[in-house]
Symmetry: C2
Subunit: 360 residues, 2 copies
Amino acid sequence: MDPRVREHAETICNHSVDLQAGDSVVIDAHPVAADLVTALHEVIADRGANPLVVQERLGKRFQRAFLRTHDGDFELPSHVMALYEEMDVYVAVRGSDNVTQTSDVDPETRSAYAQATQELLDERLSKRWVLTQHPAPANAQLARMSTEGYENFVWDAILRDWDEVREFQARMVEILDGAGEVRIVSGETTDVTMSVAGNPTLNDHAERNLPGGEVFTAPAPDSVAGEVHFDKPLYHQGREVTDVRLEFEDGEVVDHAAAKNEAVLTGVLETDEGARRLGELGIGMNRAIDRFTYNMLFDEKMGDTVHMALGRAYEDTVGEGNERNQSAVHVDMIVDMSEDSYIEVDGERVQEDGTFVFEE
Amino acid sequence: MDPRVREHAETICNHSVDLQAGDSVVIDAHPVAADLVTALHEVIADRGANPLVVQERLGKRFQRAFLRTHDGDFELPSHVMALYEEMDVYVAVRGSDNVTQTSDVDPETRSAYAQATQELLDERLSKRWVLTQHPAPANAQLARMSTEGYENFVWDAILRDWDEVREFQARMVEILDGAGEVRIVSGETTDVTMSVAGNPTLNDHAERNLPGGEVFTAPAPDSVAGEVHFDKPLYHQGREVTDVRLEFEDGEVVDHAAAKNEAVLTGVLETDEGARRLGELGIGMNRAIDRFTYNMLFDEKMGDTVHMALGRAYEDTVGEGNERNQSAVHVDMIVDMSEDSYIEVDGERVQEDGTFVFEE
């Protein structure tokens, strides 16, 4: 087995979920991730914790069969709920043999199932948890890479000195915490401002996402103004949406366009009131992620990018007394900041063409 | 997908576990059984029940990694216990990519783990449950068969009219229920008598084992006398023991031999007091099982065979007030009854060369 698989398992247990003796651990993984799951069993045994492997969210072929056959009147599975209530740690391992496995499941059925099982999600998120990636061939294919090339890419992004990353990113957190207005400019097509006043900026150094590598906060829902051209394609419900352009007034999207699959974008915006406003501003700072791989777990942390999400704001990123944008969706989209671009905070340039002010 | 996979799933749900709307179902299966697990999801969705796929007993590669790394001081995994307490139905699907996956796990470690997790087993057995087989290539290899030949064999044994089987077997149950002495004679090397007086005979028509196809009871522990030559090899702890010969006096094994791996047999007999006495007499009646495949789930139901187990008697097969043989082991061994053989019950021949008296 590639020694990086074992290092990956160590990073999950030691860094991301801070595994303790006696912990009850659930690992949700597809069989293509069997190497990583095996290495996790070694580390978990070594720490005196107790694993159970399931395919709940990540057994897509089974999920497809279940959802396509069901009459749609879903109920909360009480045994899964009992399992999640009793567990201490949840490890979700992405990695698939076909990333479009559920492409022929009716989106409404999927949404009905998600609603009926919302308590499972809440329960998982209330525990120590991490979402990570095993470099399976189908994921390499999605990234348009060779399997070995993709393995190198994934493990380079994951096997980092996360304490060092935390310290590097802390300097950007310091800038944004206590800031008022942020302005993002890129080329001729992106110039947008928003207020982040009073909203905390979080430092993602690979606790809940592995890889980590971003700092993120929430804009005030009414404050966003200007236009954004998202250079990187968006993958939503199995479809690629390219060259998304949004125009904001008083926080709301008043005009939108896309070169491909614009209807998907329109659908997102029409989900609810909050879907037409931003819920997140994130700054990608993981420079080991140097290419777009159609996988938001990596893409949003890419070095020299920013991302903005339409929809729901994370609770932790909204300051006391500030408004939190509410929505059923949270759709991230990415702007390349590596050339002809800058970020201004309260009138000062803090990043230019991907280089931060504290790096100069 | 082979249509017999779906029929297999239907048989599990409709016949073996009597699936009901709202049932919480746990499926324990290796990824090689993904076709069957997918079909199960269709049937379970159709019935309005709720599945969860785990690899607890049947994720042998993970189990091996865990057991080989652990210090041996095991504890009951509380989250798995919570899951099993809440579930209604447990489906264990045999089928592996390497049936000798745990061959380099220390038997003592395995036994320590089994003891520490005994409550999980008890909990599973207290629910509606079934143990079945998916015809994976590694299992075909164990049986020394082609994969397609093994598929035919497995599905022929499983996809039967189980009501008809139950009626056929009921005639043998009728003979044994209320019987006193049973005598088994085969060739020059097997002639053994035992009392089954007052002990119920059970009719296995594929409820907890799929395939089913045997009737079985318990001999009185002190009553067994004579000698038995088990023609079919025994597979125990990954080793093959051939031509086992046992000699009984007053129920106890007083002499034993085997052509190959006799030490394994000796080890079984030395486990405890009860391991030197019989805990089961079974009569294989599933004629779709026409060959030995090194898999006791099938072998013990083979048509024209009987099997006897050293060790623990099943509670349901011991009549009120009768002695129940107790032991940590239950090791089945098989005698071929197809030629030069007969079964006598209270002095009357009830089977000769594999043909039952009620078939004549």
